[in-house]
Amino acid sequence: MQINLRHKGSVIILDIEGNLVGPNTIELKKIIDDQIRTADHEPVFMVLNLERVQMMDSSGLGVIVAAYASVRRDNGRVVLLNIGGNIRSLIVMAKLVTIFDRYETEAEAIASFL
């Protein structure tokens, strides 16, 4: 599992590579929690780029749902970028399509915060 953290203006972008399954999800949770803590209750705008994530389980879903709920408390947002068919069907199955905004390009995802 590899996670690359980037900033574009005030937007945090996490490029995630590998399967978001089991203990792999702990690293992502730690990075997200660190970013939220650093923001110190300022709104966090975060893009999770899932282009290179082939598989996600309930632990992975739990991490991104927790991120969504945490940043929302301070009027921030978490959006998903480039989700593949597997992840899309998982999100549909878990009824989370209405929760997460999803984008096909990074520019669209960033523009959604403006």
Partner: protein, 137 residues
């Protein structure tokens, strides 16, 4: 011509979550060999990982002195997976529905739901310490 004999693969794992990836490798190979379609492969893989996580993490509390077992029964038309743990068990009816609006933003509690959504049959025996899942081709 008689039916092909059932093939049985048995796996016994100490309860550490690091071994979930071994489980992933084994079930992926079985599914490819059985020529399940791609969507079914993804679904069974996810269900087995969820059941393994439940057994190792929630059942056996990651106690490496306790064992989680995985039995794969391969037939022409279906795959049966039987998972056991040494935990205290649980009552399925007491596990909240993760699709209810008040549960949607909870960070856990989706494992059983995903297993049941991904497989054709899921049965819980011995207070949930034995889980039997079936996927038809």
């Amino acid at each position: 011509m008689g039916e092909k004999k059932q093939l049985r693969i048995f796996l016994s794992l100490p309860s550490t979550m690091q071994l979930i990836y071994l489980l992933d490798t084994i079930i992926s190979d079985i599914l490819r060999e059985m020529k399940f379609n791609e969507e079914a492969q993804e679904h069974v893989n996810l269900a087995v990982i969820e059941a393994g996580t439940n057994a190792i993490k929630h059942g056996n509390k990651e106690d490496t002195d306790k064992t989680a077992t995985f039995e794969f029964l391969i037939d022409d038309d279906k795959l049966t997976v039987i998972i056991t743990d040494e935990g205290p068990g649980f009552e399925r009816e007491e596990v909240a529905n993760p699709l209810e609006p008040e549960n949607l933003l909870k960070s856990s509690g989706r494992g059983l739901f995903l297993m049941e959504a991904c497989m054709d049959q899921v049965e819980y025996e011995a207070k949930g310490t034995i889980v039997k899942m079936v996927k038809y081709k």
